[in-house]
Amino acid sequence: MGKKQEMPWVWRLAGDTGLIVEFGEGIDPAVNARVRSVAAAVKKTPPDGVIEIIPTYRSLLLVYEPLKTRPEKLVNFIEQFDTAVLDEDAGPFKRVDIPVCYGKEFGPDIETVAKTAGLSTEEVIKRHAAPDYLIYMVGFTPGFPFLGGLDEKLFTPRLKTPRMVVPQGSVGIANNQTGIYPIASPGGWQIIGRTPLTLFAPRRENPFLYQAGDWIRFIPVSPEEYARLKEKEDRS
């Protein structure tokens, strides 16, 4: 129980049907692991009256039905967990390879990123495709992964004016974050490439390819390979 004492959990009211528990400050892999492990444990044996379990960077939101449970009961339920034990139960998390065609019409902002970093576009691609990125959370739009682990050289501010439509599959950078737009949506991230994969397929048995806690690696592909993979995706 030692860990819990070191960093007290903070409870916050999110209206009359939501409870947020905060596990720490800022964006930190250890804090995020704790969020996910508790989320996984709660999901395994959800208490009566809980209808949503939503892990994010450093906090977990429980949405509950007040006529079926009491917030005090949920606090007690969550606080029984010792995260040191839970970490093993939450995994194992998988790594998902995401093919990306960088630059050209798929990545209109790659030059901006290269210029900001003082690198060639080839070097930007090499560095962006090098790490395994941790999925801290999924949100904003269906399947949008917020990834940690971007090479510091590639940090680039958001666009001054967001685009009305960012095409489906676009891979972007916003400051120290990188992510993928699973559906076409407005957005202000610097777009450097696009994946042919369908990241959100509501009618597929599993609509998503990954969840928070999984890892993503980007695999650079040529426009020809992109077209071939895209055709395959569209057929399935």
């Binding site: 209206g15 994010t56 906090s59 959370m137 269906p142 399947g143």
Partner: protein, 315 residues
């Protein structure tokens, strides 16, 4: 079987049920009806089980050509309902027959109305719900608002043996000025004078008011000296009142999952319908209540709905 053909779709008409739960962790907002009270009564009126999908109408209603004999009912905002050009009451069951033309006009009080069909509108269930999530192009009718020429089906369902009507005392007035009760929010400590400002000023609804959220205009709410202007992104709830950089509050609604602005308060569940029934130019005041009060009101509403149900079914 085929039930209605859309002659004109109205302002913004979507198919909704209570919402899509269990996927917010994947970025899927709950969607669903904004006025759960009016929605529940619409289904009760035609004898549907609770949570049967209905049409949510916004500001201007649709015109529909009826293709089969069935019971329908319109609750929520007052919109001027006509069947074959004769005015008909809302909050009551109506028998319609093939060839009838149902037209619903411009809103006169409130903002959103609910049109229920005996047997329910038949659309595919996506991830546990029939609700339309327009941003994600899923649910409801082809993942979008209704359009001219759309043809919808309803389930086979027995006709009512007698007319059902909601007692007058249960019908909300939908005034253009509303007092909205709210609980101090998850980042209430980011504000000092801001809380006072929120609970002591009037705010008007701007034109930026939709199912994602309501932007308000009024006295600016500033964040306490020394507090960060944004927070680490965390989930929002329908009713979360967030304060962005321009210091004007936004009430987040059902098509939103995460956000990075501090949230000063949360509208209580029982008053979300009140918010959803206001239109641009209307005035809102906020009243601070505690969690206990909010929960008592949820129980009250459940009992009220139960009382109406008992009465309707006993008639």
């Amino acid at each position: 079987m085929t039930a209605v053909k859309v002659i004109s779709p109205g302002g913004y008409t979507t198919i909704q049920d209570r919402g899509r739960f269990g996927f917010q962790n994947m970025g899927i907002p709950v969607s669903g009806v904004l006025d759960a009270f009016a929605f529940t009564l619409a289904n009760l009126l035609v004898g549907n089980p609770d949570n049967t999908p209905v049409m949510e109408l916004t500001v201007m209603g649709p015109s529909l050509e009826i293709k089969k004999e069935m019971d329908i009912a319109l609750t929520g905002a007052k919109m001027g309902l006509r069947v074959n050009d004769s005015p008909v009451e809302q909050w009551t069951s109506i028998r319609v027959r093939p060839g009838d033309l149902v037209t619903i006009g411009q809103v006169q009080a409130g903002c959103r109305a609910y049109l229920a069909f005996g047997g329910g509108i038949r659309v595919p269930e996506i991830m546990g719900s029939f609700s339309t999530y327009v941003g994600g192009k899923i649910g409801g009718f082809k993942g979008r608002p209704l359009q001219k020429e759309d043809v919808l089906e309803t389930g086979d369902f027995p006709l009512l043996t007698r007319v059902r009507a909601i007692p007058e005392s249960f019908i909300p007035a939908y005034p253009s000025e509303a007092v909205i009760r709210a609980i101090p929010g998850p980042q209430a400590e980011y504000f000092d004078t801001g809380l006072k400002t929120l609970f002591q000023s009037e705010y008007s609804v701007t034109v930026k008011a939709d199912r994602m959220g309501y932007r308000l205009q009024g006295n600016p709410i500033s964040i306490k000296q020394g507090m960060p202007k944004s927070i680490v992104s965390e989930p929002s709830m329908p009713g979360s009142i967030q304060i962005p950089a321009d210091e004007q509050p936004i009430i987040l609604l059902v098509e939103q999952t995460v956000g990075g602005y501090a949230k000063i308060a949360t509208v209580i569940s029982s008053d979300l319908p009140l918010v959803a029934q206001t239109t641009p130019g209307d005035t809102l005041w906020f009243e601070c209540v505690d969690l206990k009060t909010a929960h008592a009101l949820i129980l009250d509403e459940k009992n009220r709905l139960h009382a109406v149900k008992t009465r309707l079914e006993a008639l």
